[in-house]
């Protein structure tokens, strides 16, 4: 399968400062999350893929199209929801979305039809004849989503879509994004620093840090091979207990005399650990069971330095 986005030594320099440092990697999934702390280069990467910033070195291919020489064709396939406020305030919502649809190439009558449909779909049906300048922040976000999907793009690029939304608004927007992903063959590139949003909507994650790729992770594979952890505080002689855990196939790390972190292999359950503790005369004072979350993966990627921060999988 051809990669959705393929980066080949992509470099971007803005205002005399290098923002993206020779990004190389490929992401194949239909829903890709772009993660990274503020200033990592997420928006710059999106803007470069859209052709807003010319690469100073290397190139990238999106849906098989090179961003250097096919950016107009590429833009025909893309729906973009920018991070910042972007609208024509004196226009009504439906008029604005129709306008955007027509620029994307839809004939006027179909553009109007799709604009109404997009507005109803995102839940702004009642407000479609109001001027955009009067919309609340949440409504503006939804209107931006409507204009991004009105022409039925093959790739939907969402830059911080849940910014400034209250929890119900955020939940609703994430629900819509998931629905769009499931209901069509639309690819998704979602940039966010909210891990939960990415985890809920994406199959693969590209993590950026300081303009470099800190990791490319297939969330589906990670979920399948998801490691389970036990964080424990124990009392009593721990040596026999830890060697017993080792015999069971657990990876075990001790912190001081009483704290243990244990990675459970497949087939070993918590009650096996309790049984071993009883056999060894160890009292478990505290036990915390959890799975490896995107947050762990992300924090791990952020913690890596130097050679560990090279492009590719972490």
């Amino acid at each position: 399968m051809a990669p959705t986005i393929e980066l080949s030594g992509l470099e971007v320099q803005l205002g005399g400062r290098k923002i993206l440092h020779g990004l190389t990697g490929a992401v194949h999934s239909r829903a890709i999350g772009l993660l990274g702390p503020n200033g990592a280069g997420k928006s710059t990467l999106i803007n470069t893929l859209l052709g807003f910033h010319p690469p100073s070195g290397g190139t990238a291919r999106v849906l098989g199209l090179d961003i250097r020489d096919a950016h107009t064709d590429l833009r025909s396939l893309v729906g973009y929801m920018p991070e910042n406020d972007a609208f024509v305030s004196r226009m009504t919502g439906v008029h604005f979305v129709r306008y955007m649809a027509e620029i994307s190439g839809l004939p006027p009558d179909l553009a109007l039809e799709r604009a109404h449909e997009a507005f109803v779909y995102v839940g702004l049906g009642e407000a479609r004849y109001r001027k955009l300048g009067t919309y609340s922040l949440g409504m503006k976000q939804l209107a931006k989503l409507a204009q991004a999907i009105v022409h039925g793009p093959r790739l939907l690029i969402l830059d911080e879509p849940t910014n400034g939304l209250d929890p119900p608004g955020r939940k609703r927007l994430i629900g819509l994004i998931r629905e769009i992903r499931q209901a069509s063959n639309t690819h998704l590139l979602l940039s966010s620093h909210l891990l939960h949003d990415v985890e809920q909507t994406c199959d693969e994650v590209l993590i950026l840090r300081d303009g470099r790729i800190a990791g490319i992770i297939n969330l589906e594979e990670e979920r399948k091979s998801n490691r389970r952890f036990l964080e424990m505080e124990v009392m009593g002689s721990g040596a026999g207990f830890t060697s017993g855990l080792g015999t069971m196939g657990c990876e075990c790390a001790a912190f001081g005399d009483s704290r243990l972190k244990v990675v459970l292999p497949a087939g070993v359950e918590i009650h096996d650990v309790y049984r071993l503790a009883a056999e060894q005369g160890v009292r478990i004072r505290k036990l915390n069971y959890r799975r490896d979350s995107l947050e762990d993966i992300f924090m791990n990627a952020m913690a890596q330095t130097g050679a560990g921060a090279t492009n590719g999988r972490i």
Binding site: G15, F52, D85, S89, M100, R114, E117, A118, E179, T186
Partner: protein, 290 residues
């Protein structure tokens, strides 16, 4: 994505021709301009002088009216080169005022609302964006300048003496190119000023400023240095000189002619500078240096 189904569906229908999409901007912007009663009123008023000139042609060619009103033929301006030069001078002045009102709404609004990334993330280049907005002004100013001028020419050909048209046919050339120069120059200056300033009222003021402030500065230079080269800073002066030269008449509007080649070079330089400004300012995202 049917309304009643309320679910997302991709679009796989017909698409319009790529070249036509820039003119979607023209259509929407023109419609938007004419939503303003003030603008519509002003546009209609700007066509009133055309009726005046048409009336003059009718009177000038009507012998009965001459006798009734006791006109002396020698006291009236003949419908010829000078007549059309004056017509263009009047209409281009009105075109300037109309542009000052219309241009800032075309670009400054998009910039101040951050809408440019939405336009440019679609299959629309920056050049096509400018073309689409430029076409709005081009259509409006054409309706005020060369189109009525050609209608007046045809009116005179119809009402005037037999054989009037043939020796005056050459005037179609200066009518067209003088109007086009003004349309291009005025539109580019107005769009560049709007893109630079972003705020509508300020953009309006800056368009006035571009025409008036350097002209005043040029006049001061002329007075202090006893030269005519200060007129190179007066855009209106240079244009009028070119218009009158086009109609084979000497410009009556000011003193101290400058070489036509210098006026041409200056106007071309201004256009190029405006294109540079548009190229610099009309970007999806501004890059802050430093």
């Amino acid at each position: 994505m049917a309304v009643y189904k309320r679910r997302y569906e991709s679009y796989g229908g017909a698409l319009t021709k790529r070249w036509s999409r820039a003119f979607v901007l023209t259509r929407y912007a023109t419609r938007d301009l004419f939503r303003s009663r003030f603008f519509t009123g002003f546009f209609i008023l700007s066509l009133v002088p055309v009726l005046g000139f048409a009336g003059y042609i009718f009177v000038a060619n009507n012998k009965l009216l001459h006798e009734v009103l006791s006109f002396r033929s020698s006291a009236t301006l003949p419908v010829g080169e000078e007549f059309f030069a004056i017509f263009l001078e009047v209409q281009t002045s009105l075109a300037f005022l109309l542009t000052c009102w219309a241009a800032p709404t075309l670009v400054a609004g998009d910039l101040s609302n951050g809408a440019l990334p939405l336009f440019l993330s679609r299959p629309l280049s920056r050049a096509e964006y400018v073309t689409g907005k430029f076409a709005v002004l081009a259509v409006l100013l054409s309706l005020m300048t060369w189109i009525p001028a050609l209608i007046l020419l045809l009116l005179q050909a119809g009402l005037g003496p037999d054989g009037w048209l043939k020796p005056h046919l050459w005037m179609i050339g200066p009518i067209l190119w003088c109007s086009l120069i003004w349309i291009i120059l005025l539109s580019l200056i107005a769009l560049a000023a709007s893109a630079w300033v972003k705020w509508r009222i300020l953009a309006m003021a800056s368009i006035f400023g571009v025409f008036l402030i350097p002209a005043g500065f040029g006049a001061v230079l002329n007075a202090i240095l006893h030269t005519n080269w200060g007129n190179l800073l007066n855009i209106s002066y240079m244009f009028q000189e070119i218009v009158w030269a086009g109609f084979h008449a000497s410009y009556q509007g000011g003193e101290g002619a400058i070489p036509k080649s210098a006026a041409w070079a200056m106007l071309i330089a201004i256009c190029l500078f405006c294109l540079h400004l548009l190229h610099t300012r009309l970007r999806a995202f501004e890059v802050v240096r430093g």
